[in-house]
Amino acid sequence: MTVTGQRVLPGPGGLCQKGWTSAQLLNTPGRLTTPLIHGEPASWDEALDFVATKIKEYEPDQVAVFGGGGLTNEKAYLLGKFARVALKTSQIDYNGRFCMSSAAAAGNKAFGLDRGMPFPLADLRNADAVLLAGSNPAETMPPFMKHLTNAQLIVVDPRRTATAEMAALHLQPAPGTDLALALGLLHTAFINSAIDKQYVHERTTGFDAAWRVAAAWWPERVERVTGVSVQDQRAAVELLRGNAFILSGRGTEQHASGTDTVSAWINLALALGLPGRKYSGYGCLTGQGNGQGGREHGQKADQLPGYRKIDDPAAREHIKQVWGVDDLPGPGRSAYELLDALGQDIKTLLVFGSNPVVSAPRAKHITKRLESLDLLVVADFVLSETAAMADVVFPVTQWAEEDGTMTNLEGRIQRRTKALSAPEGVRSDLELINGLATRLGQPEERFPTEPEDVFTELRRASQGGAADYSGITYARLETEELHWPVPSEDHPGTPRLFLDRFAHPDGKARFVAVDHRGPAEPPDDEFPLYATTGRVLQHYQSGAQTRRIQELNQAVPEAFVEIHPDTAHRAGLEAGGTAKVVSRRGEMQAKVRCVSSMRPDVVFLPFHFPGDGRANVLTNPALDPTSRMPEFKVCAVRLEPA
């Protein structure tokens, strides 16, 4: 099988190397085709019986589930239902918590609704300017760049990334100071008369309180904190007049103040009158294959399907009725807190579509927590670093081998059509869930194994919720582009949200008064450098898939650290040599890449690599108070020769 980029909507067609080579993953040499119990091959029945028997020994909340933002909507939905109905546990969360949770929280606060992009992707082509805060799509989502060819591009990133290279203006703040920069741009917009006063008056509330915070961030003060010159702050505001989008990515969101930082960007967008206007707005760029849909249907600790809140009595009633149950657990722990509780309150963990050994912050500690479990169960199609630790591994289908839907970054539901049969011995996650649920005493029909049956139930469960899929059918998806909400089968979908009103009861968007706090762990004499983590083009997330593809692995085979040549020299390091990178939580090794555009106080580490090259050994699990997002994007480190 081959993959081409001719019909990849909504793009004009295009793939990066990950896409071109994705077919190789289907028969990768490490493909799992049989369940494993303690590393030994076992039959599906043996493995399912083993797990179900073990689970019955525990109280419901001693059993936890960790999902993934790459799962289809159907799997995400059924996984949440499985946790709450079959396991009766409140302890379910997913790696999306490490992804878009800060943007989701801020979007909900400001607009009353979170949909990554509340407008079609193609609208970007009609913008005069696009500001990308903490995103590097030229490497993480290359075909996306084709939508940015018309707009003046402003990139906010501590690194001069491939995306920044293409920008009209690159703002290069010190890591952890984006919030101050956003406040400063609001201030500059005010003194340069760029505020859309009529819009602010008619469509928003709370400007005055937000302004009083921003008033204390005059441009010269912002420059001192961020390192972004006053002139560049002004230039950014000038570019943002007219049709403009402000888009946030993980760089600005993965902070202990991530929610507030996104709120500050949204405040700027609101002050400029962008959201809810055609060809303008605020959006968040999805981080995982199904980052949007994955967070809408109930694998999040605090949510039920349809983007409903789990502590909302009406939402609970609706879901109980759809599921035919009398009771539901309440909210559980967030992802890091859940992983941190393993071996303590939680004795058993089931992992679907995630590799926390590599991707969780403070990874060494989390690995120890995983080791302390009574039972670790992992469903994957390769032996990821987490699967390698598991007591039981289930071999499951991958992308071309299964039907389902994904919801893309613009809230559009896309069909994934089965193209191939899975190798013998491999089953779908839905079959796995069904196998466990029935062994735990659930009726067969409550956990369908056909994706379309699951979707039909998901439609009912989401009906009336924020992310309403009730009008979507597989048949409609063959011919139509449907953005949620789609409340009935004759509804055309909602490509642009908020054109008339925002989703708060009064129809207005809300400014949220937020102030800059700075990173949780600022550099000091012992750890004098900021470390920031991110991705490279050739690898996806924890690298469990892409490191198995020869072309990709040859291009970027190992961990590296990007540093300014002077910083390398002062640490006694040379380009091509190996550096030891040390934080308060551990150390890792990385090959030195000298990059003269780096800030001398910053090092960059890709997080795709296991073992000695595991960047997340260093990262700081300080959590955002609202989104519970860990501070992946800044921690204090020092460099030593290895």
Partner: protein, 476 residues
């Protein structure tokens, strides 16, 4: 419950009250301010004069602030005296007890002894306004009109900001400054000259090295060189003096300001002072950052949230806030280029309003003037603040960002250079594919996938095709 009384509701006093509330919701806090309005952001007054901000938009608190935060706020109230024994202050007819008293009384404008500026009763003469408070700004804005001759007394930071704001309103501004160059505390003579030249192009005139001897209302200023500056309005911005009246009357130790230690205690350990009225060896007054740093330390101590907190001084960076003029100055700049103990770089470009001077010791920035060099200002102030060594490429440092690499021509690229990042396609692969018959961009895309990702390498691939066509024999 402990009672904290803060005298002064300016940037220091207001910040302290906020910092206390952030740490302690219960503590009894009284704030006494002599102005009628809510605390406002003095840093932004020049933007009010320039007309880019309204008086309302610079206020630090709204009217609900005291109520919402449980603060006992007394506006328009002057403290008559402090009774240190009884631990009370007297306002109007009321005595307010304190466990800890904080003086945040700020500073008062200094009026030079020019004849006629003050009326016999000590108030400003008609047509004379200080540049210190929001009320002063209101008076300036009310009077200043386009085409009106205005004199600014004082060519320091604030005087220049006021002059720039007034020139922006269309006034005919003359700055009278007793020293031979502008901002002599922060700038050397070379920088001062370039600054005056730049401001001159914005319509501001200067009379340097002369004193104003006499003011005549409606006429203007007589200078000591016998010349005359016409002015319907005189804005006095000749410096400030710490307001130490209360402290002095209470017998606290005073020098240029109220003397405080690292715990921000005065000579009476129950009385503290912060902001412009305080004198701490680690800082100079007149700037907001030291006042805010002090407020944070004092709140740590008064609430007991970090009793060991100490104020160790604030490194000062002077940043002019004037439209179309980008100026930063920091550290010791009065060092000659050939000074043997320091490494000094200097760049002068008066025609384009640029002047950069950099003083380094042991690779660290100890002083800098950056005029018309905004990128360098941003970079160098960060290096100075964080005590980081300067990059070895000093030229790049003066530019403020790494020098861009020369765009290599296709011929010069090594074969291993990656042309299409999305698909990791090197120049060598493209050359091979071209020689094998893929002679157009679309044919190359078909074979190598170059240009099919983000599309950013399309120009580079076109360039390679052109170069190959021009220089290499075509395949058979």
């Amino acid at each position: 419950m402990r009672r904290v009384v803060i005298v002064g509701y300016g940037m220091a006093g207001a910040r302290l009250a906020d910092e206390i509330r952030r740490r302690d919701k219960e503590m009894h806090v009284t704030v006494v301010g002599d102005e009628q309005h809510a605390a406002y952001n003095r840093v932004l007054l020049s933007t009010v004069v320039a007309g880019t901000m309204t008086p309302e938009s610079v206020s630090l608190h709204d009217e609900q602030w005291a109520h919402d935060h449980g603060i006992d706020l007394r506006l328009g109230t002057t403290v008559r005296s402090i009774d240190r024994k009884a631990r009370t202050i007297t306002i109007d007819d009321e005595e307010i007890p304190y466990d800890a008293l904080v003086l945040a009384t700020g500073s008062k404008p200094w009026v030079p002894p020019t004849e006629g500026l003050l009326d016999p009763d000590g108030t400003m003469a008609p047509g004379v306004v200080a540049f210190r408070s929001l009320d002063d700004c209101a008076r300036i804005v009310e009077k200043a009109g386009p085409g009106m001759p205005v004199a600014v007394l004082g060519g320091g930071l604030l005087g220049i900001e006021a002059a720039r704001g007034l020139a922006g309103r269309g006034c005919l501004v003359t700055v009278v400054h007793p020293v031979g160059h502008l901002m002599e505390r922060q700038l050397d003579a070379g920088a001062g000259r370039v600054l005056a030249r730049t401001l001159g192009t914005l319509g501001i005139e200067f009379r340097l090295g002369v004193l104003a001897t006499k003011y005549l209302a409606g006429d203007g200023l007589a200078l000591d060189d016998g010349s005359h500056v016409p002015a319907e309005l005189v804005v006095v911005s000749a410096g400030v003096r710490a307001d130490t009246r209360l402290a002095e009357e209470a017998g606290l130790t005073i020098d240029r300001g109220i003397v405080v230690d690292d715990a921000l205690r005065t000579s009476d350990p129950r009385i503290h002072a912060i902001g412009d009225c305080a004198q701490h060896p680690g800082t100079v007054s007149g700037l907001v950052q030291p006042a805010w740093d002090q407020a944070s330390v004092l709140a740590d101590r008064l609430t007991g949230s970090a009793p060991g907190s100490r104020y160790k001084g604030t490194s000062v960076i002077t940043r002019l806030k004037a439209r179309d003029v980008d100026l930063a100055a920091l550290g010791d700049v009065h060092v000659d280029v050939d000074c043997p103990e320091s490494e000094v770089l200097c760049f002068t470009d008066p025609v384009r309003g640029r002047y950069a001077k950099l003083v380094l010791r042991d690779d660290k920035v100890t002083g800098a003037i950056l005029l018309g060099a905004p990128d360098a200002a941003a970079t160098i102030t960060q290096l100075y603040d964080r005590g980081q060594p300067a990059p070895t490429d000093r030229l790049a440092l003066l530019l403020g960002r790494a020098l861009p690499g020369e765009a290599a021509s296709p011929a010069d690229l090594p074969a291993s250079a990656v042309v299409c990042r999305c698909n990791t396609v090197s120049k060598g692969q493209i050359v091979s594919a071209w020689r094998a018959g893929a002679e157009t961009v679309s044919a190359l895309a078909e074979v190598t996938r170059a240009t099919t990702g983000c599309g950013g390498c399309k120009d580079a691939v076109c360039g390679l095709v052109d170069w190959l066509e021009a220089s290499q024999p075509r395949s058979a």
